[in-house]
Symmetry: C2
Subunit: 259 residues, 2 copies
């Protein structure tokens, strides 16, 4: 049975403070919950019986069958779905040796939860397994981020780290050449460069781009060319769109060259 | 002076019904308003005096200097800015002869205002001048769409049309070959195709993709390959992200081949 305290606990997960205190996060809707269940420890599941009937074996600490209006009372969505679940936040180790063999995304201060979730979904599509975020990047367990990931967090690990400390790990000469790409208006045309299959792609804040401290680590400044070059246009692209175009080009080159 | 009726009128523009009745739309914030002012007829402008001081000549039908709290009362934003403006919706003719010489985006039932605005901003970046939308696509003058365009509507025209009637115009044999591209899971790898510099790129609804009636017009089914091909991944990409990756590849090929 769904009591008031439980509803209060679920709804409190809208706020980072309570997510941090409880180490939990909320996911809502059939697609998201079904995708996450096999990968994350489920503390609590609230579902309609019709939803449960569509599932195989599920492992949850506590399950409540929703009665009329229960999900609406607990949900943070405008249009509540037939299931919601509270999961434990996983703890990942960041293995810097492993990162040297992969392409990794680094986010410097992304603020919009929807942009961030869209980036994680896209990272999954392009097989980017790790996303390293500056401490001022929006919380990945923000419910709006979570909804935008569409379940991709099952395959993409996010890590929060001071980017200066993080990049300093790779400054050893043995690590070179280890490209750190970043997008800048004055960067080189993305399509004129031979892109690496390992290294970092840094993307910056929606309004201010990459911060100056992070910029000092960038070894390759790149730019998405507008078209045609001489036409007046917007100043920039949405950050999720820009990240996607850049990652797509890395993977296109990699697939074409059979790396 | 900003009276109650004016506030009511401005705030009513959140709703499509009132936007349709009045033929107006709302834009908020310095960047958006400044970008739109030279291109759209401004019915009403509410600004702080500090904002006005940063502008050159501006042409508006009515201007009110905001007093303390005025903008907050009229604004639809969570964080009101120092200026907002009501513009007349422009009326565009759709010139099908002109479309034959260009690359045009067609949206079949995009629902999310943020996605739609992001797509318009991206279309501007890639010099796509026209976006044709099915009648069930979200209204371009929705304030959330407007904010996400970041002013790109000054250079991108949107048209609402029944897509069946629209595509039937181009079925004359004289129009062939006139490629109509659409993204499908079973489509051909985007990167293995020589893409045209004219024609249509059709993108579908967030959940359901391209409708079956529209699908019957698609001559080229394409697909954005995930990477690596054999890795389990998300079912799809966000529609604004997918549209951007597709448009970027069209323009990359066009720029590389100097078409």
């Amino acid at each position: 049975m769904l009591n008031k305290n439980k509803i209060k606990w679920i709804r409190s997960l809208e706020y980072k403070k309570f997510r941090k205190e409880t180490g939990c996060f909320l996911a809502e809707g059939n697609k998201l919950v079904s995708d996450m269940l096999p990968y994350f420890e489920c503390e609590f599941l609230l579902s309609e019986s019709s939803w449960l009937a569509t599932q195989g074996d599920i492992h949850v600490k506590e399950h409540v069958m929703a009665e009329e209006g229960d999900i609406s009372r607990a949900s943070l969505l405008r249009t509540p779905q037939n299931v919601l679940a509270v999961f434990k936040q996983p703890v990942y180790e960041l293995d810097s040796a492993d990162l040297k063999t992969k392409l990794t995304l680094v986010l410097d201060g992304i603020q919009d939860p929807g942009n961030f979730g869209t980036i994680i979904r896209m990272a999954d599509w392009f097989g980017i397994e790790n996303v390293v975020c500056s401490p001022d990047t929006v919380d990945v367990y923000n419910p709006k981020t979570m909804q935008a990931t569409m379940g991709a967090l099952a395959r993409v690990r996010t890590h929060y780290a001071n980017l200066t400390d993080f990049f300093n790990q790779f400054k050893n000469p043995d690590d070179l050449p280890f490209p750190i790409y970043g997008t800048f208006l004055e960067g080189e045309n993305l399509y004129n460069k031979k892109l690496s299959s390992t290294g970092f792609i840094v993307m910056g804040n929606e309004g201010n781009g990459i911060g100056s401290e992070t910029e000092s680590f960038i070894s390759q400044k790149i730019h998405i060319p507008n078209f045609p070059r001489d036409r007046e246009t917007s100043e920039s692209l949405n950050v999720a769109v820009a990240t996607a175009i850049v990652c797509a080009e890395f993977r296109r080159q990699q697939a074409c060259l059979g790396m």
